[in-house]
Each structure stands twice: as C-alpha cells, then as structure tokens.
C-alpha cells in the first residue's frame, strides 16, 4: 500500500534506533527510489511504523509517498524483535546496544534471543557488564554513547547510590577519561567509601574534587590532579612512600643526565638507572655523574628500611 508520510505514526518506542536520514541517504532514495517497503501495523485509529523510520523521513523530505507493508498486530516485545531483526546490518555501538536493552528490559526480562541478536553471549562476562550498565540511570547512557565512560566502569558503579551517581555524573560529562583512568578513579573512590562506610560524595567533597573540576585548568591537568588526590586518599601510606622516594631520587639525580626509577612498589630496593649517550663526551660526563650518584647514599635512606 502507498501511504502519505504524515499518515504514519513514527513514535512507537519499538523504533529504538530511529535516526534522521542524512543528505547522502536522501540522495540515494531520490536516485534509486524506495527499494524495500516499510513495515506498519494498523492501530485502532492510525498506522504505526514498526520498521523503516529513516526511509519514511527521507521520502517525506522528497515529498514522496511511502510504500508500506501491513503486518498483523503484535505486542511490544514482538514489535521490538521485528525492528531488531530488520535492522540486523546496523553497527552495534554502545549507544545502540543500550537503547535496545533498555527497550526490552522495560518490558521485563531480556530473552536469550535478544542477547544473541546483539552479539552478546548469554552468561558471558560481557553480558554481566551490560547488565551492570542497565542498573545505572538512563542519563548515563548518553555518556556511554559519547564514549565518555567504558563498559567496565558500570560494574564498579553497580551498587552506588543515586545521590553518589548524581555527584559523579559531571566528572564524566565534563572530562574525557581514558578507560584506565576512569576505572582507577571509580575503583579507588568506591573502595575508599566502602572501607570507611561513608558515602562517596563525602570523599568528593573532602578532597574538593568539584573545585578542580570547575577550575580553569586544562582538562588533562584536571584529570591528573583529581586522580592524584583520590589515589592519595585511597593509598595514603603508599603515596607517602612514593612521594618521599620521588623527592629523594629527584634530589640525587638533579642536574645529571641519569633517570632513576624504582618499580617494585618497595618490595625490593631495586632501582633502574638509565641515560642516553650520543658521544664519547656524553659518556665521560655521564660516568662522572654516575659516580656522584653512587656516593649520594641512595640506599641509605630507603623509604622502607
């Protein structure tokens, strides 16, 4: 059947990946016409679109009628499934997966079939992560869609109170965290709050993290400072030791071309000393500096005796 675009209801929630057509798409339809009918379901007083949102919008923009196929009435679950099956070729990014999962979880349980259609093995670790993501409020979906928060973070946040989530939200909205940094931030904060049985917001306030977030520093500096503060709070003794050692090693190697590092978290006294040599002169200079370092008593004052 041929329908006027305005006669079709485009608002059914089953169209969870509905997307406006771009110029290229409209151009294709203009040149090639509508190759496939859209699917509609006749409601009591209107025709409800179940698949083909982009096509309807493109045809409307071109002032064309829509070729539609009428399917028998179905419940919301079946409508969603039809939509998902007819959109199987879509790239499954975080935003698409979560909007599909939200739709079906709103109807009750998500069946194995849905998980499989989304390329997620039921019972797998990744399914667990998506289930954690579903436990977060829907406004966090936007952060995920913008790749501002990784999937693993959802698991860390799973048991966080709504109040604490509200306080955390701007940190992810305003800043772009790498996967490692976001996981560290959330893990340290949640662990500290569990250990002290205090809300996470108490730490954010105590550490004045919001002041850093809304300061005029560059985003990178903000991230660095926030992480440092949270690490110091989560690992006070370790960070004190690291600070002491960094100062000591810095003092010893200051002005020299040697870089001194310790990588064993104080389990050993091992240090690594390295430099780059370009010439005989460099080499001689480096050796004399190394001698100075060896006389400095680097091990005498080791932070953990």
């Amino acid at each position: 059947m041929n329908l006027a675009p305005d006669d079709i209801n485009l608002t059914d929630p089953c169209l969870f990946w509905a997307q406006e057509p771009g110029e290229d798409y409209i151009q294709n339809i203009r040149e090639l016409g509508q190759a496939e009918p859209v699917l509609i379901m006749a409601g009591p007083s209107e025709k409800i679109l179940v698949a083909g949102f982009k096509r309807v919008k493109a045809l409307k923009a071109l002032g064309e009628k829509v070729l539609a196929l009428k399917i028998p009435p179905a419940d919301s679950r079946s409508k969603g499934l039809i939509y998902l099956l007819t959109n199987q070729g879509q790239t499954l990014d975080q935003a698409r997966i979560i909007s599909c999962l939200r739709y079906f979880s709103g109807l009750g349980d998500i069946s194995e079939q849905i998980w499989k259609l989304l390329g997620i093995d039921p019972g797998s670790k990744i399914q667990g992560l998506w289930q954690s993501r579903l436990s977060l409020p829907p406004d966090w979906d936007r952060l995920a869609a913008e790749n501002k928060i990784c999937l693993e973070c959802s698991q860390v946040l799973e048991h966080t109170s709504p109040e604490d989530l509200d306080i955390l939200y701007p940190f992810f909205k305003e800043l772009s965290w790498s996967r490692g940094n976001s996981l560290n931030l959330l893990t340290w904060l949640t662990e500290k709050s569990r250990m002290d049985q205090a809300p996470l917001s108490a730490y954010i306030e105590k550490l004045k993290l919001e002041q850093v977030l809304y300061s005029r520093l560059s985003p990178n500096d903000k991230i660095k400072i926030i992480l440092k503060k949270v690490f110091q709070s989560r690992y006070p003794v370790l960070s004190q030791l690291k600070n002491d050692l960094a100062q000591r090693l810095g003092r010893i190697s200051r002005g020299s071309r040697w870089r001194i590092e310790h990588k064993d978290e104080f389990e050993s006294q091992q240090i690594q000393i390295s430099t780059t040599i370009n010439s005989q002169k460099d080499l001689e200079k480096a050796l004399s500096q190394l001698e100075q370092i060896s006389k400095s008593g680097v091990f005498d004052d080791w932070p953990v005796r």
Binding site: E191, K192, R194, M195, Q197, Y235, P236, V237, L238, L241, D264, E265, F266, E267, S268, Q269, P303, V304, R305
Partner: protein, 381 residues
C-alpha cells in the same frame, strides 16, 4: 538445615560436627566404590542418597546445579605428593603436601578455594592404596632423607576427618617411616587421629591462629581461638609438640589489640617448648580473588587495604604495614619465650632481618631449620 537433612541425620551413624552441614548426596566413582575408604564413608551415612559415577561421566552431571553439599569419593589419578608451591623471590619452607582431596566445608572469607571451586562438592581421594604406593616409593626410597609432610593444600586437614579418618590412617601409615614427620593443619578440632599415631614425635598437630575478631568475622564454621588452643594444650599434655600458623595476618582497625590478645591466649595454653614452630604470614592473594571476596563476603573490608603486587605477582600488603605487624606480633611472642621457632611465610631476607632479626641463612636455611625443629625431640628444645 533442611527438613530433608534432618531426616538424614536420623539415619546417619556419624556424629556430625558443627563445622559441616549434612551432605545431600554421596557420589562415588565406580572404580573407587569398593575401596575400604569409600565403603567406610558410605557406611557412616546410610541415609544419604548414593550415586555411582560410571567411567566417562562427569561429577557435574550428578551433583546438580543447585549448589548442594555433595561428598564425592573419587578415584584420583594425579600425583599425591607435591612440593609446596614456592617462588624464587620469597623464602619458602620446603614442605611437601600430600593431596587427599579438594574443597572444604568451612567458609573462610579469604580462602583461595573460592576461586578454584564454585560448587560445594567435597572431593575425597578414595583410592588410598595408590596413595600408600606412591608415598612408599618417594618416602621409602632413602630412609636417611628427612621429609616434612602435611595435608591440606586444597582442603582443611581435619575438616572431613570425622568421615574419612584420613589423617589417622596417614599417621599410622607414616609410623613405618622414621624419616617422615606429618603436620596436620586445621581450623577445627578433631583429635581422633591421636589413637592411631604411633608416636608423639611423628605427628605435629597444627592450627591456624588469628585474632579472635578475625576468626569470628572471617572464618565461617571454624573453631574459636580458645577451642583451638585448648586442643593444642591437650596435644601438648599427651606429649605432642604443636605448630601454630598466624596466617593470614590481616590489617584491620584494632589489629594490635587483637593480635596481642591472640598471643596472650597462646601463652596461656601452651609453653614455648610445646611449640615446634610458628609461622607468620601476611594476607596475600591472586589478584583475581579480590572480586570473589567482594562478591561472596561483602562485609570483609580488609580487602580494601593498601595491597600492592608483589614480586611473585600476588597481591600483598604494602611492606611498611606488614613489617609493622610482623615486628609487633613477633615481639610479643619473643617476650613470651617463643623465638627461634618463629619463621615468616613467603618473605624476602630483608623482611626477615627487619622483623625477626635473623635470616633463613642464619638458621642454616629455612627448609633445614624446620626439618630440625620437626624432628627434634621435645626434651631437646
């Protein structure tokens, strides 16, 4: 306990100890069904449904997925005797482990077994004849070579003793090997093995000890410190020397008071000469265990301590913090007269020196030192 279990209890001919619920099923490998051990265990629980596992069948097909407590009498085909897993980076004690089964009915929050076994199937190696053969081959080869052996790498040595009598059998069997000393390490009380122990010098009853708070909070189903030490005192009265293991030492608010109390209690129940040796081991774990502990024991917040990754890849408490604990506990013990019996579990020479004032080298090597202590006559200490 379920109604079904209550029924079973009526039929069972064994007094069930408090650390273990009644099993819902017994599963036996067909090959092991007629072994004396399997027959003994089955006889002790006549009311418990028995299933035989044909060759090729997997226990999971019979144990069910509903997390039932199952006793599995297995025909074990692996090596029974293994060296204690050590690493090159930290000092190890040269202990050999006799593998008698897997999984444990107790529920310690820090237990590594949670990472290995997700079910409640308690496996017992029923083909004891094979065990005796292997032990004879290794331990009997050179009777001048001394061995310290123990059970319980993958289970508590005595948690199933009321059913198996395994430790008693071992004590009896090893009575013929003057070069072997058997350590029985547990968190529960079962002294039934004593009757079969050929001599007080061949068996070292051992208990894990901890602060009373850690025992009550983190060692589900285990005996209290007082019960353990009372049992240790009984052993000492009978002429045995005992071993104690402060492991895992946990860093928690109030740990000083807790561990001081534990040391006081030890010294109330035992004299220093009753203690063959005593180990101190800080909590260390495979990094993957952390998630399991958080999931299974959400109240166990010691898991959020300042742990770092050690040189062996395991998580361990930051050196300054564990050194403080070692020094404190060792100091209290030394004051009470326990000194050269103290050793550290999986620590570097640097930590030894700092915490105890000596290194394994000063003792002639840890493995040798512990052998000497194990085989030393009580009067000689």
């Amino acid at each position: 306990m379920t109604g079904q279990s209550d029924n079973m209890k009526k039929y069972c001919s064994t007094v069930q100890p408090s650390h273990m619920a009644w099993p819902e099923n017994i599963v036996v490998d067909q090959e092991a069904a007629s072994t004396p051990l399997a027959r003994k265990i089955i006889r002790k629980m006549p009311g418990v449904p028995l299933h035989t596992l044909s060759p090729g069948m997997n226990i999971s097909e019979l144990a069910g997925k509903d997390n039932r407590l199952v006793i599995y009498l297995k025909h074990y085909r692996g090596r029974f005797l293994r060296p204690c897993p050590a690493t090159r980076k930290y000092r190890c004690c040269g202990y050999q482990i006799i593998h008698i089964g897997e999984n444990c009915p107790l529920n310690c929050s820090y237990c590594i077994l949670q990472a290995y076994f997700q079910d409640r199937v308690l496996k017992i190696w029923a083909n004891q004849e094979d065990l005796w053969t292997e032990l004879d081959m290794v331990l009997g080869r050179d009777r001048n070579r001394l061995f310290r052996v123990g059970t319980g790498e993958f289970t508590d040595s005595l948690a199933l003793e009321h059913l198996t009598g395994y430790s008693a059998d071992l004590a009896q069997f090893l009575g013929n090997y003057p070069n072997v000393c058997l350590e029985l390490k547990s968190k529960i009380i079962d002294l039934s093995w004593m009757e079969k122990a050929p001599s007080t010098r061949k068996v070292l009853p051992a208990w894990s000890v901890n602060s009373p708070e850690i025992i009550s909070r983190e060692e589900g189903g285990a005996s209290t410190l007082e019960e353990r030490l009372k049992a240790a005192g009984t052993c000492a009265d009978k002429g045995f020397r005992v071993c104690l293991h402060f492991d895992p030492i946990i860093h928690y608010p109030g740990w000083k008071k807790g561990y001081a109390h534990a040391v006081e209690m030890i010294l109330d129940f035992l004299r220093p000469e009753h203690i063959a040796y005593l180990s101190l081991g800080s909590f260390r774990f495979m990094p993957g265990l952390k998630k399991t502990i958080i999931r299974n024991h959400p109240g166990s917040d010691y898991i959020y301590n300042e742990f770092i990754t050690g040189l062996d890849g395991k998580a361990r408490l930051l050196l300054t913090l564990r050194l403080e604990q070692f020094k404190y506990i060792a100091g209290k013990l030394k004051k009470g007269g326990v000194s050269r019996q103290i050793y550290l579990c999986m620590e570097s020479d640097r930590v030894w020196k700092e915490a105890l004032g000596y290194t394994p080298k000063d003792l002639g090597g840890l493995a040798r030192h512990l052998l000497n202590l194990s085989f030393k006559d009580k009067a000689g200490l």
